[in-house]
């Protein structure tokens, strides 16, 4: 079929390394091989992605998992029934603080630094106490959205280090590509964001990575492929082709041999519009954590697995729901609704040859929590209520 006659799928995305499945599918023509044409649409904010997806200016989007739940549950204004047939990768987030804040903490702790990244928020606890005693302004930290995994990771890390994210610091939201600029301008003291915007601050010598998603919740979900349920229902065959093209793209992106080509592709002006070397550190799972120091291997820092990792198991949604419950963003009793958003029928249909490997995904997610609280998708309420610092009711 000539390319012009293929069904066009407009795919919204934000300039982040994990938009790769959509970009790779288009750039390598994996979409055409599946008989569809993906049209990537870069947008400046998650709000714009949400609005354009909800009001049919896009067919699908590279989306925050939590925001997808929020849309479905009607939080923040409007309701749009959603469907997630694929998770778009894993990891990629890091918590960065300004070099100045790190030095302030180190001085307060008389040079005693915490090397265990999962525990390192305790260094900020020292700053919080000192500033409060001196009547100084509180720390200002940013994530990318209230319903983002970044917000949940930043909050969990702070809480585990003895810093109450609502009482002890000022949390705000800054769009990912503007994070480094906000840190440089001194508008914020630190942030949690996806790659390449953590590496950029380190490469520019203004930020220092304190913890990564891999140190906190390595198997928890990250971006998802989000669709309107009404569109997905009416276009089952197209959705299946879209997912197949993205899965093929993820398999390609997961190959170490393709990292250089992937970094070049993402660095282009239509996508991340940034230096390929900055992108590469994350792709190699060897980010530079401290300005001027060598890159350091961090297992699972950022990965695009194939079928296993993209499999939209219900626990991914329930994990996000548990975070929303913990921080008082939603009422109780949405477990079934949320599980239904994460729809495994498409992946089951296209991925028989890899079946079996993904059944452990939920179990892996529960294992080895950095905060000692094991997640159980069957008991969301019990899970978040075990945290000493929580907002839910």
């Amino acid at each position: 079929m000539p390319e012009a006659n293929l069904p066009v799928i407009r795919a919204g995305f934000i300039a982040l390394t994990d938009c790769a499945p959509i970009v790779v599918a288009r750039e390598l023509g994996l979409d055409l091989e599946e008989g569809i044409r993906i049209e990537p649409v870069r947008l400046p904010s998650w709000a714009a992605v949400r609005d354009q997806l909800a009001f049919e200016k896009l067919e699908c989007a590279h989306m925050l998992g939590g925001l997808t739940l929020a849309m479905h549950l009607g939080l923040g204004g409007f309701r749009s029934e959603m469907m997630v047939p694929l998770l778009l990768g894993r990891g990629g987030n890091a918590i960065t603080i300004s070099v100045a804040l790190y030095e302030e903490a180190r001085t307060l702790m008389k040079g005693r630094v915490i090397f265990d990244r999962a525990q390192s928020a305790a260094m900020l606890a020292a700053v919080v106490q000192a500033r409060r005693a001196a009547g100084e302004a509180s720390l200002r930290l940013a994530s990318v959205h209230a319903y983002s995994s970044h917000s949940y990771e930043l909050r969990a890390w702070l809480a585990h280090g003895g810093v109450d994210p609502d009482q002890d610091v000022e949390l705000s939201v800054v769009p990912p590509p503007k994070m480094v600029e906000a840190l440089r301008a001194g508008q914020i003291d630190g942030y949690c964001v996806g790659e390449p915007w953590s590496q950029l601050a380190v490469e520019e010598g203004i930020g220092r990575i304190m913890a990564t998603k891999a140190d906190l919740y390595p198997y928890s979900p990250e971006k998802v492929l989000a669709l309107r349920r009404s569109w997905a229902t009416g276009h089952a065959e197209t959705v299946s082709r879209l997912v197949a093209a993205c899965v093929a793209a993820m398999r390609w992106a997961a190959q170490p041999a393709n990292r250089n080509a992937l970094a070049d592709m993402l660095a282009g002006p239509d996508y991340l519009d940034t230096d390929r070397e900055v992108i590469l550190g994350g792709l190699m799972c060897a980010p530079r954590l401290v300005p001027g120091e060598t890159r350091q291997p961090v297992a699972d820092y950022l990965s695009f697995g194939g079928l296993d990792l993209g499999y939209p198991y219900a626990e991914a949604g329930l994990w996000l729901l548990a975070q929303m419950r913990r921080w008082g963003q939603v009422g109780a009793g949405h477990e079934d609704e949320v599980s239904a958003i994460f729809d495994t029928t498409i992946m089951d249909g296209i991925g028989r040859q890899d079946a079996g490997s993904h059944t452990n995904a939920g179990r892996r997610m529960a294992a080895m929590p950095f905060d000692g609280n094991a997640f159980d998708g069957g008991d969301v309420e019990g899970y978040w209520r075990r945290f000493p610092i929580r907002r839910g009711a």
Binding site: P44, A48, F55, K57, R79, H145, A146
Partner: protein, 204 residues
């Protein structure tokens, strides 16, 4: 007047569009309209203005920051939510199409907000139309310049009159079912290539 008492905040980085919208709102009877061209110190400005309705360009990169401010900040006294009238899906669809997003104070009657959003949508639409027309005019002007240049080259190197040069181009365009400006481009490219080759030979 419909708008009496409502504080309207317009946030738009495009000064021309912001002025257009502010003028239209005032004309429609809304007397309390404040326009911000940048989102610098947005939080303090919103606390000071206490808007009932905020109109912001859908593509503004600071919308996530703005929405979060409404959700969590204790200093923004009036709770603000995104304006979505589920009973009037078409109106919202049109707003998204036009690139308008609106936020309103909770509890504000939809009937009072709808005309404001309507004014914004209309102005955004006519502004895009203006931009399109301006771009078309620019393209047309650029086309004329290129046609004139090709004509000049033909006159200079073939020793023909302006009229002959133009009719030669028009004839070729008709024969090949192409636009006359495309023929002009081919002529310019051919002459530039020729000049380049001559230059190379000269240096060799």
């Amino acid at each position: 007047m419909a708008g009496n008492g409502l504080n309207i905040l317009v946030i738009d980085e495009d000064p021309a569009r912001a002025a257009l919208l502010e003028g239209a709102l005032v004309e429609a009877g809304y007397t309390h309209v404040v326009t911000l061209r940048t989102t610098a110190n947005l939080h303090q400005r919103i606390v000071a203005i206490e808007p009932d309705v905020i109109i912001i360009d859908l593509q503004n990169p600071d919308r996530d920051t703005l929405e979060n401010m409404f959700q969590v900040s204790r200093s923004v006294k009036k709770p603000i939510a995104m304006f979505v009238d589920q009973s009037d899906d078409d109106a919202i669809r049109r707003a998204v199409e036009a690139g308008v997003s609106a936020y309103v104070v909770d509890g504000l009657k939809k009937d009072r907000v709808r005309p404001i959003v309507e004014v914004a949508v209309t102005r955004f639409e006519s502004f895009s139309q203006l931009l399109r027309e301006r771009d078309e005019a620019r393209t047309a002007l650029a086309d004329i310049k290129r046609i004139n240049r090709a004509k000049g080259l033909l006159m200079q190197y073939r020793g023909i009159t302006e009229e002959e040069a133009y009719s030669m181009m028009r004839r070729t365009a008709m024969q090949q079912s192409r636009k006359i400006v495309d023929i002009a481009d081919s002529i310019i490219t051919a002459f530039e290539l020729d000049a380049g080759l001559l230059g190379d030979r000269h240096h060799a």
